[in-house]
Symmetry: C2
Subunit: 513 residues, 2 copies
């Protein structure tokens, strides 16, 4: 076998069985080797940002990495923004970045670039397999590194000759690292401080917001401790039967108002909360003055066990509160708003659905009513780089067949990776895409005032407005092979959304809000 075979066989042996790809010439051996390894599912993406965001969605749902196949430095560059998001979601992803043959690098051919430097900032681990005999060992090392904990993207650089040359070094099994438990003394110390605090808050992040983590956090809530979660969570179970913590507010001053009087913040799988952006004269660190902070578990440690131990130490009951099931009886009526859309989503969302949320200013309208919908998972935008709603949905649908996937997007966000629609059609994925078409970078109109920049004049308005011309989203989606409708009233949206939930396969709804 050649190096490409060794790589794919090692990946498959370590349960990496999905490959989101946009290959070029230097990746042809990997592509050919896929034919000899049918356990690896290749998914073509027409832009690398789709591939990397899909790998993120896959990893969040599968709890194991997918691989990407990217074409040298520029191919990785196209996928960089969604790998930034994956890094912020702690999602295991194994990037396979093709490179020139080792002996060809010195000639600085047109596609040559400094791949290790470009991939470095968003990779937990980077190595180049500079001979075919190193490929399988490094592939196993890459898989192990991607798990962290906490996990994240890693990058294995694969020179073309390491792929095409023969090797006798076959499959290597990867270790999957285990999270360390927090020390008993830490648990005791934190419990003591929580008992002594007048108004403590437990702040959950990452693994602490898993189903198991939330079940333990609910016990703390039952014991009278306020429980919040980070503003943007990689994967959070929500809806009926699930404990729903409060949410750290997005804007700093709102967060501090919400935390007023809090005298202790305990971090569980997360760190000190900070403002998403700085603004003149507004706070960066979102801890009230005089409030003390402590850490129960780091992001690397076992937050579920930590929460359970803390609940035990505080004498909390064996279980805590859960959301009721409660959705609107009838369809919403009148003008279409994000709130009206949200009522319909909550009514029709099937159990086990996966919401991939890149809806920016429209998202709140859905999140509120869905808090009492049928149980589902929400995958949020963790790194602030818009254009992940479609790609995440692709990955989630590949990872979780049989579960309905709902991709919620602002129109500005959706345009970033609009190519994702084609892959949904190609793979006939069970994804419903909703684009909230307000024909504006609405968030920036809000942010402009907050940064003290004043009201937009003619030049500034040209950079915030998407309405000239208005994008005909139905035409774009149909052009990419996805059945599409435009809804202009709440009644139309409710009917279209109900149909989309009832039928399998990709669907597109333009919500003309």
């Amino acid at each position: 076998m050649n190096g490409a075979d060794a790589l794919i066989e090692t990946l498959v042996a370590n349960e990496v069985t999905a490959c989101f790809a946009n290959p070029g010439t230097s990746e042809m051996q990997f592509v050919a080797a896929l034919d000899r390894a049918p356990a690896m599912r290749p998914v073509l993406c027409l832009f690398e940002g789709v591939a990397t965001g899909a790998a993120d969605g896959y990893g969040r749902m599968a709890g194991k990495p997918a691989c990407t196949l990217l074409h040298l430095g520029p191919g990785y560059g196209n996928g960089l923004a969604n790998l930034h998001n994956a890094r912020r979601a702690f999602t295991p992803v194994v990037n396979v970045v093709g490179d020139h043959a080792t002996y060809h690098r010195q000639y600085d051919a047109p596609l040559n670039s400094d791949i290790p430097t470009i991939v470095g900032p968003n990779s937990l681990w980077v190595k180049s397999a500079d001979s075919p005999d190193t490929v399988s060992a490094l592939a196993a090392e890459a898989v192990t590194a991607s798990y962290g904990p906490p996990g994240g993207p890693v990058s294995l650089i694969l020179p073309a000759d390491s792929a095409w040359l023969e090797t006798r070094n076959g499959v290597v099994k990867a270790d999957v690292p285990v999270r360390a438990a927090a020390a008993g003394t830490t648990i005791e110390a934190v419990a003591k401080r929580v008992r002594e605090a007048a108004k403590p808050v437990i702040l959950l992040g990452a693994q602490a917001t898993s189903a198991e983590g939330l079940a333990q956090a609910a016990r703390l809530a039952a014991a009278g401790v306020r429980v919040l979660a980070d503003t943007f969570i990689a994967r959070q179970p929500r809806g009926a039967g699930v404990f729903q913590p409060g949410r750290m507010q997005y804007f700093g001053e709102a967060a501090l108002a919400d935390l007023a009087g809090t005298d202790l913040m305990v971090f569980v799988g997360t760190v000190t909360p900070v403002a998403f952006f700085a603004y003149p004269g507004r706070p960066s660190v979102l801890v009230p003055e005089g409030c003390e902070t402590t850490t129960l578990t780091t992001r690397s440690e076992d937050s579920v066990a930590g929460l359970a131990a803390l609940a035990d130490a505080l004498g909390a009951p064996a279980s805590g509160p859960a959301q009721p099931f409660k959705v609107a009886d009838g369809a919403p009526t009148g003008p279409l708003t994000p709130q009206a859309c949200g009522l319909s989503v909550a009514r029709h969302l099937p159990e086990g659905a996966i919401i991939c949320d890149d809806s920016v200013t429209s998202g709140g309208g859905v999140a509120v009513p869905c808090s009492t919908a049928r149980p589902h998972d929400v995958l949020a935008l963790t790194g602030g780089a818009i254009g992940i709603g479609g790609p995440l949905a692709i990955g989630a649908a590949v990872a979780a067949p049989g579960r309905k996937v709902l991709s919620l997007n602002g129109d500005g966000s959706a345009m970033y990776t609009v190519q994702s629609l084609w892959t949904m059609a190609r793979e006939q994925l069970d994804v419903t895409v909703v684009v909230f078409a307000n024909h504006s970078y609405r968030i920036l109109n809000i942010e402009m005032g907050r940064t003290g920049s004043g009201d937009p004049g003619p030049s500034a308005s040209k950079l915030l407005d998407l309405g000239d011309p208005k994008i005909d989203w139905v035409s774009v989606a149909k052009g990419m092979g996805v059945p599409a409708v435009r809804c202009e009233t709440a009644e139309e949206f409710d009917a279209a959304f109900a149909r989309a939930m009832a039928e399998p396969g990709p669907k597109f709804i333009e919500a003309a809000i």
Copy 2:
């Protein structure tokens, strides 16, 4: 004034008057300052890869940099691939990369990233303006650095507080560096070797392929010396009245066959030619065995003066050959092929047109007949990162109003930066976009065989084929606001292309080849 004002005023004072932008919160002060500087033209791009490719097209045509406005590391990442191309085109580009406020960086907020590292590999110059008082001096330094020579992208990092705080440091003028002349002794030595060689070849790159460079190279051709140009040229005048050098072949073995017997290669504004990719058992360096090489001028030196001096030293005539004007009399007929499209393009292309070429396997069909069309410029894909045809056209159209711009694209390439269509509609740019829809990564089908990977089986075919579903390009283009037609015969294409050349404004033609 604040730092953002100082930046924009300094850019404008140094003739940087176009800004291709996709801003976020950290760039709001820059956006607001645009309203106070009407000489700077803001052009909104719905994805950063469009913005950076447009800046490349602008710089190639204007001979001076545009600026981009990008949102932190992920925003730059989205634009990275086309900046790789700009680096390979030696195009001056000033990237303004917004960052968190200086004091906010330490908190590692979600959008925080290692911007200097990410931008480094594709920037000739990187600095961060960490106080408002440094902004204008660094902006001037950035403009100077972007000119090289040879030029390229530079990156000025602008923290939000450096933009919003007041400064008294106003406009700073930038030096524009001048290319050094090659030494007289070099000219004499090269002339001697050319005289003594049995079969010398002059290879032109970069500045040597400018109109002035080609006029001098034509004199060498008239003196009996064979003249070739690099395979991919940032900007090359072509058509009637222009000297057309031969072209280095793309595939290495074809290049070496073409050069057989050559005993001297003289590089003018370029370096030793190498194969685009390595293949098992095929050459990397495209210089025939036993052939000597020498350099007349480096990419940094004055190649036009160097060519003129060499022509003088060789006693060449005052002028050399130029292409005749010769196009097909009637419209082509029958099935639509790239060759048929090329005949129509040659017939109808107006004088002064600008062809932006990202058409990969279909491009040759157009290049051959256009070699005797009305005089025009061709901007090629210099760095191999596909997805530049639309963005280049935006930049060229903004830089050269009054000239018709033709964007030629493979369907795989066009999908990469499909968002460029919207900006063409928004700005009503005089661009005709042609997409050659073969519903395949055709080049990869060719490359797969060359890399010795064998014939594609089911998995490999899934990664090379774009035909399931077939993209309805007309629907996509109309959805983005560009009038569009599909042509399935040579007659239809000829008529549609003639109309597009006769009418101003954006047009889209799907060539169903």
